[in-house]
Amino acid sequence: MPESVPGNAVAYNPAMRSSPQSTPQLPPQARPRTLYDKLWDAHVVHTESDGTALIYIDRHLVHEVTSPQAFEGLEINGRKPWRLKSILATSDHNVPTVGRHEGISDAVSRLQVETLDKNIKKFGVGDYFGMNDSRQGIVHVIGPEQGATLPGMTVVCGDSHTSTHGAFAALAFGIGTSEVEHVMATQCLVAKKSKSLLIRVEGKVGGGRRWQPTAKDIVLAIIGKIGTAGGTGYAIEFAGSAIRALSMEGRMTVCNMAIEAGARAGMVAVDDKTIDYLRGRPYAPPAAQFDQASAHWRSLHSDEGAVFDRVVELDATNVMPQVTWGTSPEMVAGIAANVPDPAKETDPVKREAMERALQYMGIDPGTPISQIKIDKVFIGSCTNSRIEDLRAAAGVLRGRHIASNITLAMVVPGSGLVKRQAEAEGLDKVFLAAGFEWRDPGCSMCLGMNDDRLSPGERCASTSNRNFEGRQGAGGRTHLVSPEMAAAAAIAGRFADVRDIL
C-alpha cells in the first residue's frame, strides 16, 4: 500500500474515478482545484493578512449539550441569531431510549433538554425536532435524512461527528461552544484552511464475493493505518472505487469517523447516488429548483490534476472485518488476528499506551480476537444507526438468538423516521425475536449521557465511534465493530467472523 511522503504534494489521477461524470469543462487557465478548495473558496467572506479567513456557514445544527452557554452568551451581549433559518435543532444526547412519554428522570439531563426547549422559543428558532417529535433523532442522522445537509454547504455543529455530513460534498466540521455562539451571532466562523489529504480506497467490493468490507471496516482500517492523529491538520477527501461503491449511508459512516483519524472534516464527491438520495427530501430544494441545484452540485468533485498535500491508498479487497482491542480507535485488528504484544513495540510512548490499554481492557497480549467474550451489544450511534445498518444487522440475526452470556443487546435507531421505516420492514420483529431490545432514537450508549451505560468491567461490542476509557460508562470496555459484526458477536457471545455466519 503506497503512501506519499507527507508534505510531498501529489496530483489527483482521474483514472481513479470509476464512473464517468458529466462535469463542465474548466477553462484552461483555471487552476485545477480539490473538492475542499472549491468548498472553501465558495465560502470566504474576508481574509486576514495571516491567511485566517472569515467563512460563511450555511447550516447550523444545534443540540442540547453544547448550546446552552452559547444562547446565554448571545443574551448577555444583547445579540440575536443572524439567520434563524440556518438552524436545525434537536435533543439527542440526554434523551431516554425507553419510556420517553414519562419524561427524563435524571434532573440534570432534564434541565439541559428543557433549556434547549426554552432557548428555541426565546430566540424564535423555527426548525426544532424536540424529544417527542416523530422526526427527532441523532443530529447527524436527521440532517441528511431531512435534506437539510446539501452539497456545497458549510455545515457546523457543536459536535465533532459533524464530519458525517461531508458525505454529501459539504464542508462539515465540529466546533466548540464559543464558535456555536459565534456562528449564531455572525453566520460566520474564523478559520484557517487545512491541508488536503486524499484517501483513495480501491478494490472490488461487489464482484460476486459473498462478503464485502462494510463502510465501518474500511474506515477502521484507515484509522489503523494512519493513526488517530494521522489526519490532524487535514481535510480528508475519500475517493476511489470502493468509496464510490458505498451507499450514502456507508459514505456517512466513513466521513463520520474522519474525526477519529484526527481530521475535522471528511468529504466525498457528488455523484448520482448523492443527488438521488436528496431528491424529494423535506428540506432539499423544491422540484422547481432541484435541477438547477443538482447541475451545480455535479461540479463538486476534485478536478483532474488537482494537487493534494498528501495521498494515502488502501486496498479494500484486503480489509477483513475489523474489531478494536484497545482504548483508541487506531488500536484495531482483523477478526482473525491476535491482540498485539506491547513488548514487541519499539516506540516507548506507544508501548506504554498499549500496556495501559490492555490493562484497562482486561485482555492479555496475544489473545485471539475471536476468543474475547462480551457482555453487551449496542447497535446505534451517529456512525451506524441508519436504515441500512439496521438491515445489515437484522440480516445476520434473522432466525438466530443472542448467546446466553449476553446481558443486554439493544438497537437504538438513529431517528424516529429510521425507526418507523425499520418497523415497516419488520426489522424490529427480527431484533426482538433474536433477544435484542428495540429502543427509541438518540445518542444513547455511544457516550452514556442518558441511562444507557456500561457498568465497570462490562465489555461491549458497539457500532459507535469511540472506545476511549469510560466512554460508554465508567470502567466500561468498548470494542468498535460494524453492525453485522455486532450481530455476529451477539449470537456467539464473543467476537466472531461474520463471514462464517452469512
Binding site: 467572506v45 495571516d50 446552552p68 456545497g152 451571532a185 460566520c188 428540506y283 476511549f468 469510560g470
Partner: protein, 216 residues
C-alpha cells in the same frame, strides 16, 4: 476573555499520549448549562479514587495519589506538559473550560487535536506546540527538578526554562493578537457586517436554495 501576555508558572507532566476530551472532562459533567464549575472535575476518572457525578462534594472524595496533578510537588501548577495528540475526541469546549478553571494557563505538547486547539484560544488558554525532542527534554527536566517554573512569553513566542533552554513556538498572528488583548472575537467579526451581507446577496443569486426564507 482574560488576556495572555507573559506567564510564569509551575509545570506538571502528564505522561500519556492521545489524552482525549472524555478523559479531560467525563460526559456526566457536560450536563451543566453553565460555563463554570468544571475545574474540580478535570481528569475526574484519573484524579479521584471513586466515580464522580455532578452535585457531589468533591472535597470529600479520595484523591488518586499516583496521578501527577495530585502530587504535592505539582500543587498550584499552571502549565501542563503533555504528549502528542492532546485533546483528541469530542468538540466539547468543556475540556478547555475544565483545564482553565483548574488553573492552567498553557499546555505544551508535540501536537494537539484540531478542535481542542481551536477551543483553547477562545478561553485564554494557550496551547503550545514544541517538537517531540523538546517535549521529551522538558519531561526529563520537570521530573528531575522540583518546583520547575517556566516562563511563557506570547508576544515573543518563547518558552523559557530557567537557566536553560529557550524554545520558540509558532502561533497564528490573529490568534495571538486576540489572546494578547483578550478580544471578543464576535465583536471583531461584526466589524465585517457589510461584507457578510454582500456575501449573502451574491450567494443567494448563485445558490438560491441555500436561502429558502427568500423564496416568494
Amino acid at each position: 476573555m482574560e488576556p495572555f501576555r507573559v506567564h510564569t508558572g509551575l509545570m506538571v507532566p502528564l505522561d500519556r499520549a492521545n489524552v482525549d476530551t472524555d478523559a479531560i472532562i467525563p460526559k456526566q459533567f457536560l450536563k451543566s448549562i453553565k460555563r463554570t464549575g468544571f475545574g474540580e472535575n478535570a481528569f475526574d476518572e484519573w484524579r479521584y479514587m471513586d466515580h464522580g457525578e455532578p452535585g457531589v462534594d468533591n472535597s470529600k472524595r479520595a484523591l488518586n495519589p499516583n496521578f501527577a496533578l495530585n502530587q504535592p510537588r505539582y500543587k498550584g501548577a499552571t502549565i501542563l506538559l503533555a504528549r502528542k495528540n492532546f485533546g483528541c475526541g469530542s468538540s466539547r469546549e468543556h475540556a478547555p473550560w475544565a483545564l482553565q478553571q483548574f488553573g492552567f494557563r498553557a499546555i505544551i505538547a508535540p501536537s494537539f487535536a484540531d478542535i481542542f486547539y481551536n477551543n483553547c484560544f477562545k478561553n485564554g488558554l494557550l496551547p503550545i506546540v514544541l517538537s517531540e525532542l523538546q517535549v521529551d527534554h522538558l519531561f526529563n527536566v520537570v521530573m528531575a527538578t522540583s518546583g520547575l517554573r517556566l516562563t511563557i512569553d506570547l508576544e515573543r513566542q518563547l518558552v523559557e526554562v530557567p537557566g536553560g533552554e529557550v524554545y520558540q513556538f509558532e502561533v497564528d498572528d490573529s490568534r495571538k493578537q486576540s489572546l494578547l488583548n483578550g478580544w471578543d472575537e464576535i465583536g471583531l467579526t461584526l466589524r465585517h457586517v457589510d461584507k457578510i451581507r454582500a456575501y449573502e446577496q451574491s450567494r443567494a443569486i448563485r445558490e438560491p436554495w441555500i436561502f429558502p426564507e427568500q423564496r416568494g
